[in-house]
Structures are given as C-alpha cells and as structure tokens.
Amino acid sequence: MTPPPLTPPSARNNGVSDGGGGGGGGPDCAGKKIELNHNVTVSSDATGAINEVDVRLNEDELVQIPSKGDSPGFIVARNSWANVTLAPNGAVTVGVTNGVLIEKSAIGAAVTSATFNVDPAAHNNGNFTEVKGAVSVFSLITLGSMDTPSDFLKDKFNESSQLANIFSTLRALMQLINQTFNCAGIKKP
C-alpha cells in the first residue's frame, strides 16, 4: 500500500494546549490539539467545540479485523491513526493514515477516507458523499491513486446498508460529542 496520505497527529501540533490563539471569540484552546492520552487526541473548532478525534489504531503490528465467517477482512498497516472529523454541515469523515485494505477475494479496495452525511429531506439512513481510495487486485496492485475520490467505491459503499449503519452511529456520536464537550472543559482522564 502507498505511504500515509494523512499526517499522523504526533507530527502535528501535539500536546495539551496552553492558551493563546483560538480567535473567533472562543476559548484560548480553540482550534488546538489536546492529547488526552497515548491513544487519543482531540481538536476543536473556533468556538472550542470538539470536532475532531484522532485515535491510534495500532503500533508495531499489522492488524486484521474482524474477518469472521463470510465477512471481509480490514487490514490496517502498522502505526496507523484514524481521524474522525465532523464538518459544520454535519458530515462525518473517517480517514486512516496508511489506508485500510478491504479484501475478501481477488478484488478488494484500499481506502484512505470516507465521508458520510444525512440529508434530512431524503428520509434515509444517510449516504456516503465521498470515498477516497482505489480498487485493489490480489492486495498487491491498486488501480489508481488511494488519495483521489472514487465514484466506483462510493457507489459500492452506498450499496452497503451495514456500512451506512456504522457511519450513521459514528456521526450521531460525533454530533453529541461536539454539542457536549468544549476544549476548555476536556480533561485528561
């Protein structure tokens, strides 16, 4: 798989915020990264509301999950972080630094991010609005760049009600976190 398309949080503005900046009338910590622990870092918008969570997925070993029965395996390269971002329009984007390989047979997909949103007028569970990745063959060759949006993968993701359910739950959770927690009140556990 190709090298990380996203910058790991450790390479960005890491550590607990200590004032300054922010802007927009928000608290001093607004817009900064707060490291909760070894595995979790959060960021906030200009008002200080938490809108981004970075989670360490693994360290030294490649991980394959869950791969039960007929389900496809998700292969995550070592030292991967997941970045979950809630956009002002309510869309949730999940990105993985080194991409995720979804494979079950000869044809699979190498995906670096997926964006999901709910259109209230559509009266459904929501839709994927963008999927960045490429089709992979025998987990060896990716047909195209993993960093560019793929309409093919977006269509395939939208055909899966199970993926929609998972992203719908994650979106609702991120919205509640955004409405509940402010960077000024976030404490290290």
């Binding site: 979950v84 959770l173 509940t180």
Partner: protein
Amino acid sequence: MKRIWIRLTVIAVAIVLSGLAFWHWQMKNFSHSLNSIDVQSTQAVALGAMADLVLDESVLRSLPSREGKGILDQHRTSPTGFDERAMFVSTWKSATSLIKAVSEQQIPADTAISSVTLTQAAPNDRVDAWNSPFCVYSFGSRVVVLSSGDGKNQPQCDSLKKIAKRLSKTVTTEKLVKDQTGIYAVVHPMSPRS
C-alpha cells in the same frame, strides 16, 4: 495457416471472455462482501475508540485493562473488554440524546421518571446498551440519567432519587460516571452548552 489463425482467435476470445466473467464475478463478490461486514465488531471498535472521551475515569478504571498499544491491539487482546467499553459509550450516547430530548420538552421537577414513558425521545435512546430503561430526574436546571449498567435490570427509580439529587450537585463532568453505589450516571445542564 488459416485454421491456426482461427484457432488462435477463438482461444484469445475465450481467454478475454473468461477474464471478463472472472472480473465481473469478483466485482459482484466485492459488493456482496461489503454487505456482510461484521457490524457488531466494527461498531464496537468505532464506539470503543471514543471511550476515553466520554467515559469518566470512575468508569474506565473498572473496565478491563487498556494496556494495548492502540485500540485495534486492545480489541485483539481483549475483545470482550473492548465490547464492554463500547457498551458504556453507547449508554452515554443514549443518555445524552435522552437529555437533549427532555430539554426540548421538559419533565416534572424532583420526580423519578422511567425513560420508557419519555416518548419525546427516540425508542433507542430510552434504553441503555443492555436494553434496560433509564431513571430520569430533573433538579433545577440539571437532568440526571441513571443506569444500572452491566446488564442488570432497571433500578427502582423512586428509591434512587436521593442518589440522583446528590449526583446533580456533585458531578462536574458531562461524561458517564460511576457512583460509589455502583450506579452509572450522566448529569447535564437542561440544554447542553446553553
């Protein structure tokens, strides 16, 4: 010579057609596989990943070790423990959604209410992750939601009113907390962040 060309053409066409059929079959297989994702495990990973954000240390320290080097490593070493963490995150999610619904359509103050009667909330938000209803209380501008957690039955809401009142005054976080009595609670202002 002509025969050889015909044979070669037939073989080439057969190879191309077989390749196309194989490709089509694999694509169909791929689409099908996205619909056979192990939702439970994947959802547990997604929810459990947020545990450090929405669960208070009083809850986290009673859960199995978090010593793995990343959440997938933790999930791999202790899937049951990770699932349990996801259950508490799910409980926080339902309780917080319930409080939001209650904030929009107020409930009687100083009264013990079972969440099953709160029809202003979505059915999924009226129960914790173990499918037991919550006990809900409103004290002044604060709402307290209690869960017995761990798959126990719904607590007797009237008998927990004193505990709920104490928690409404002492809990300073909006995370899910575990009281010394073993009861789990989410305490929020009537309208979060307003």
